[in-house]
């Protein structure tokens, strides 16, 4: 085993060296500019049984998000708010490296960073989703299945979640004698803003948006910057084992605000109100 590992390491180092060289000449292996995204396709409403759903393709990365709306008890300390619960599973279909099983560190970080963008932007006005404050509230599950993984799962999952929430329909519940009754009517969710995440990676001295899996294999560090409709930051997550300089971060934030606005108009358009 040790010899095969050693050779793998040499291959990895060579690949990284090649990539750094190409980047130093301003080139990405798939021909994109450093600041361009791969093709982004967003399709909504494909899971009839969900209250909202969206499938996002970002290049070959493919993610499905589904929203299920139920009722339940509020979270402790948030008695007067609806409960939002997010999860993500990188399906074993997604690549040959994924083992089936409970979510690992990466998948947990993924869902928590996406959750943070939605929660901190106050995209959903959770104050409007309490039925009996302190007792019964809307419980909104957003679950993501990553079907194919070719890099930048964070952004693809984030867009799928935001699109599914934006276009979901909430059942209108009433409470009678401590029993929740589904009236059969639906309403749009209380949306206040649209958070958009933009992820950049640093490879050597180059900073690139929307990395492929191949680029992620060579990255030194990663940063995810989530902005809301007015361009303010609402969530940040620096990831992976390398550092960033202050300038790289400030520049990434600038880029993320512009690129975020671009993607936001794409997502807004889904609602037929774009």
């Amino acid at each position: 085993m040790s010899s095969s590992k050693r050779s793998t390491i040499i291959v990895e180092q060579l690949r990284k060296q090649q990539m750094i060289e190409a980047l130093s000449r301003g080139k990405r292996l798939d021909g994109r500019n450093f600041e361009s995204y791969r093709d982004l396709e967003i399709e909504i409403g494909i899971i009839d049984k969900a209250n909202g759903s969206a499938k996002v393709k970002l290049g070959n990365t493919e993610v499905l998000a589904g929203v299920k709306v139920e009722t339940g008890e509020p979270f402790e300390g948030l008695e007067n708010k609806g409960a939002l619960i997010m999860s993500a599973e990188v399906l074993p279909t997604a690549s040959s490296h994924v083992e089936p099983g409970p979510p690992d560190e990466e998948a947990i970080e993924l869902s928590r960073v996406v959750d943070r963008g939605v929660r901190e932007s106050k995209m959903l006005d959770l104050d409007k989703l309490a039925l009996i404050p302190g007792k019964i509230v809307y419980t909104i599950f957003v679950d993501c299945s990553i079907i194919n993984s070719d890099g930048n799962l964070l952004d693809a999952t984030s867009y799928a979640v935001v699109a599914a929430l934006l276009t979901c329909k909430l059942p209108i519940f009433v409470v009678e004698n401590d029993r929740v009754i589904d009236t059969g009517s639906i309403m749009p969710p209380p949306i206040t803003t649209i958070p958009v995440s933009v992820t950049a990676v640093r490879i050597g001295d180059s900073v690139l948006l929307d990395p492929t899996m191949e680029e992620e294999a060579c990255m030194d560090a990663r940063i995810t910057i989530t902005t809301q409709s007015e361009g303010d930051l609402v969530a940040l997550q620096k990831g992976y084992t390398g550092p960033f300089s202050v300038n790289q971060i400030l520049r990434s934030v600038e880029i993320a605000r512009n690129k975020g606005e671009e993607i936001r108009s794409r997502i807004k358009g889904l609602n037929g109100t774009g």
């Binding site: 494909i46 899971i47 009839d48 049984k49 969900a50 759903s53 070959n60 493919e62 499905l64 589904g66 929203v67 299920k68 139920e70 999860s87 599973e89 399906l91 074993p92 279909t93 997604a94 690549s95 040959s96 089936p100 409970p102 599950f141 679950d143 299945s145 079907i147 194919n148 993984s149 070719d150």
Partner: protein
């Protein structure tokens, strides 16, 4: 009433009609083989990885390939949100799907290796195990695994006095019997057979024949889907001639 006075079922089918079926081959980019099936409201994606090295190594078999299978439902696939942890039902279905596929594969061609079949139910309707088997067999073919034949699956069941083909969700819940069958068309062999519900011996024979008939119909759709991927428009032209 699950069947009206005109012999129509709740989704407007006749008693011998399949639901709409669409199979798309090669939908998961990273997989060695894959297929997406829409079978009524079932939406199921199957990815195949392998033959590949087994980890941990002591699981490898010196004379043949290990076949593994995971049937899993996404949390949003069901009426009430499903807990993502695998249920006992999913464990059992994973087992019967694997066993229904195994007779079709020439596993001795890949000693010491493993083939993984991942069946992910994105939306569940009645009959998701049959739909999963149909997509899985196509995905195995797409992965280029040596096989004797495709495995085709379809349920038949009983609604009152009627034996009907291809039970949907509502019929599964309110009907009287559901009997999923998987079938090797060339060998005329049964590789999956389960029954939930009551059937007299005569009803059972009728049900079995009907399910096999359904499997044969599915078989044509599976072959077509593969032809379409591998020969594309050529095939369509030829068929129109």
């Amino acid at each position: 009433m699950l069947i009206d006075e005109n012999g129509k079922r709740s989704d407007n089918r006749g008693i011998d009609d399949l639901r709409q079926i669409k199979i798309t081959v090669g939908v998961v980019k990273n997989a060695d083989g894959s297929a997406f099936i829409e079978f009524g409201k079932n939406k199921i994606i199957v990815a195949v990885y392998g033959p590949r090295e087994v980890h941990p190594k002591h699981m490898a078999l010196p004379d043949r390939c290990v076949l593994r299978c995971r049937y899993h439902m996404s949390p949003f696939s069901t009426d009430t949100r499903k807990n993502p942890a695998p249920s006992r039902r999913e464990v059992e279905i994973s087992k019967v799907i694997r066993e229904s596929l195994e007779p079709s594969l020439i596993l001795s061609d890949y000693p010491r290796a493993v083939i993984d079949v991942f069946v992910e139910v994105l939306q569940a309707d009645g009959g998701s195990r049959c739909a999963g088997i149909n997509a899985a067999s196509v995905a195995l073919a797409d992965a280029g695994i040596n096989m004797r034949d495709l495995v085709s699956a379809c349920a038949a069941g009983r609604l009152g006095d009627n034996i009907v083909l291809d039970i949907n969700d509502q019929e599964d819940k309110e009907g009287d019997a559901d009997m999923p069958v998987a079938y090797l068309s060339n060998a005329d062999q049964i590789t999956l057979l389960q029954l939930d519900g009551r059937l007299s011996p005569t009803q059972f024979s009728e049900c079995l024949n009907k399910a096999i008939h359904g499997c044969k119909l599915v078989y044509e759709i599976q072959k077509e889907a593969l032809m379409k991927k591998y020969f594309g428009d050529e095939v369509e032209l030829k068929e129109e001639v």
